[in-house]
């Protein structure tokens, strides 16, 4: 059934505005912000931590709540950046630069308010794009076959590991490790148990939640206990009145917001680039575009609203390939995809076309959720700030308790605890040896999908591996992969040369 845009919107609003879904949206947004405010806890940990609660509610509502947690956590992270100079997520690191300076000048309220508005505008641009293009993308994607999906997923993995900061070799290594962990369990095609070594609970595979909470959450806690023993700086009191921006603030913010939205949506849709890169690029763009460069580093509002618009736009736009193609471009989207699959929802073009109530209900709930964030969280800033004053030695045991109980509640057995433990060790080892965790998660979620598409392609081509190059769409994607590979190698050589010259000088 062809749904026009207006019909789709109507269908979605019906779902998103139901009392039940409004409630869960509110729950997601609030808990997300609460957790996002805690330093070190970002969207990934927030989603994994709260997932057990969503496990027992109906899929559409669960999805809406999870999405709410996602951008709630992002918003909470911005709050911590501005007030405490502690980035909640890597993308918020940029917000710290100008936001904290504004805070020290007593303008925290304005910074927080403008961040909320900028975030809303960024998200709105992303949502509008999603609304306009989803049906179109889904229709095109329905014509994709296994080889196209294989190449696309390969591109996503490749881009994610090489374009993010850090050593691309280590990124690829982590994707492979993640894929290996994803292989554990019974192979659907042959029924053969793989890498289970006779341990029966492993036959179902390793739980995404346990893996994610171990690698991200446990590792973060272990690394943070001692550094957090120094007293956190006291957060400012923020009143509602202090939030009113001046006319000049608004005037200065208009162009950065526009630029940020463009940068953010563009980078958000591409696989491998996301909110963090968008935020940094927006900051760089603002520094280039300004006529008063001396303002930067001293609390320039342009340096907050631009990046915040960009990172929210990127986050929202990241949903587009995830939901319409079923291919996540970042670790956070990989978790989203993973938890959706646990709920029995398979994102992709089939979902958009066959289950419009679910898809459009989600899209409309994005509006609702972001609006809630804007309207509700501004008055409640004081409450979230109070959370920041809880000493870490109360916070981390609390997080551990919720991790353990949550993870155990999913299967009613204590086996996941051992997975969490093992993954915690792995995650901390990765930190110590400087390996990026996000590609691990991507590899874990996308790896099995990749194998499946490869096997189907081979069946299709009757064993001919040239199929990937023979089919035009797949071939062009492979060319892009090779281009990225070439550029990465070039960049590494150039960096190595620079480093050698620097030490020689």
């Amino acid at each position: 059934m062809e749904l026009g845009l207006l019909d789709s919107i109507g269908l979605g609003l019906q779902s998103a505005l139901s009392l039940q879904n409004l409630f869960y949206c509110f729950l997601g947004v609030s808990f997300g912000t609460l957790l996002g405010v805690i330093p070190g806890i970002g969207p990934i940990i927030a989603i994994t931590l709260l997932f057990p609660i969503t496990f027992h509610i109906e899929p559409t509502s669960a999805l809406i709540m999870l999405a709410g947690i996602f951008y709630g956590a992002n918003y909470g992270g911005s709050t911590a950046s501005i007030l405490l100079n502690l980035p909640g997520t890597p993308a918020n690191a940029v917000t710290c630069i100008e936001g904290y300076q504004m805070s020290r000048k007593g303008r925290a309220g304005v910074a927080l308010f403008m961040t909320a508005i900028a975030s809303f505008i960024g998200a709105s641009v992303g949502i509008i794009l999603m609304m306009l293009f989803s049906n179109m993308i889904a229709k095109v994607a329905l014509q994709f076959g296994a080889p196209e999906y294989f190449s696309l997923m390969l591109l996503g993995l490749f881009a994610a590991s090489t374009m993010s900061a850090g050593d691309p070799l280590k990124g690829i290594a982590m994707i492979v490790v993640g894929a290996v962990i994803g292989t554990v369990g019974i192979d659907i095609n042959s029924g053969a148990p793989r890498l289970a070594f006779g341990i029966y609970p492993l036959y179902d595979g390793i739980s995404l939640i346990a893996l994610s909470i171990g690698v991200f959450g446990i590792a973060e806690i272990v690394a943070s206990i001692r550094p957090m023993q120094t007293e956190p700086p006291a957060a400012q009191k923020v009143t509602l009145r202090s939030m009113r921006p001046t006319g000049e603030d608004i005037r200065r913010s208009a162009a950065p917001v526009a630029r940020g939205a463009a940068i953010g949506t563009f980078l958000g849709i591409l696989p491998g680039t996301g909110a963090t890169l968008a935020a940094f690029m927006s900051y760089a763009a603002e520094r280039k575009a300004t006529r008063e460069p001396e303002r930067f580093g001293n609390g320039a509002i342009e340096g907050i609203v631009g990046p915040e618009t960009a990172n929210n736009a990127a986050d929202q736009a990241g949903f587009i390939p995830t939901m319409t193609l079923g291919i996540p471009g970042s670790a956070t989207m990989a978790i989203m995809l993973g938890v959706l699959m646990i709920h029995g929802i398979s994102p992709g073009p089939r979902l958009v076309v066959d289950e419009p109530e679910l898809f459009w209900g989600l899209v409309m709930s994005f509006w609702v959720g972001n609006l809630m964030l804007l309207v509700l969280n501004i008055p409640f800033i004081g409450v979230w700030v109070r959370v920041l004053s809880i000493p870490y030695h109360y916070l981390f045991p609390a997080v551990l308790v919720f991790v353990c109980v949550g993870v155990v509640s999913l299967t009613l057995s204590s086996f996941p605890i051992w997975i969490v433990l093992a993954c915690g060790v792995l995650g901390y080892a990765m930190r110590v040896f400087d390996y990026p965790p996000a590609p691990l998660l991507l590899g874990f979620v996308v790896g099995p999908m990749l194998e499946d598409q490869f096997r189907r392609s081979m069946v299709l081509s009757r064993g001919n591996m040239g199929l990937f190059i023979e089919r035009p769409i797949s071939a062009s994607i492979i060319v892009i992969i090779l281009a990225i590979l070439g550029w990465t190698i070039f960049r590494s050589i150039r960096n190595a040369r620079r480093a050698a010259n620097a030490t020689a000088a």
Binding site: L169, A173, V176, R194, I225, R226
Partner: protein
């Protein structure tokens, strides 16, 4: 502090390489490879193993020619958290959820001296109540809270 070679990368790279080789060998010997048109369960793990071995080798090789930093490990935090998780996992079945929570929080004190006995008791009590309300009352999870199976 800089070292002459990046031992961190050399070590971790070699470990990854070893794991990759082990996986490759395991896949080749334990699982069916099938035919190109109908690939078996062993193909993917073997490919991943080979790739991992390659990556590990590359990382170690590059680390050999680069200076690196010392490895810094938070041993106290790591061991404390692991013991806490271990305690929870072991106590859950025999003793129930609440004693497991108390044990978890208590062992966390090993990691952070500021977690005094008073703090442990307060935190454990609050968390027990929260867990009860959220998981037992609101979500209806059927986990025994105490050894006597409530």
């Amino acid at each position: 502090m800089n070292l002459s070679r990046d031992f961190r990368d050399i070590g971790s790279g070699l470990v990854l390489c070893l794991v990759g080789v082990a996986l490759l060998i395991h896949a080749l010997t334990s699982y069916r490879m099938g035919t190109p048109a109908n690939i078996g369960p062993g193909v993917w793990p073997a490919t991943l193993g080979a790739l991992l071995a390659l990556m590990g080798l590359a990382i170690a090789a590059i680390g050999f020619f680069r200076s690196g930093q010392r490895v810094e490990v938070e041993w106290r935090s790591l061991i404390a958290i692991l013991l806490a998780l271990l305690a929870f996992g072991l106590l859950l079945r025999p003793a129930g959820l609440i004693p497991a929570i108390w044990a978890l929080v208590a062992i966390c004190a090993l990691a952070d001296k500021r977690l005094t006995l008073r703090a442990i008791v307060i935190a454990s009590a609050i968390l027990s109540v929260l867990v009860y309300v959220i998981f037992k009352l609101l979500l209806g999870i059927n986990l025994p809270l105490f050894p006597w199976g409530m």
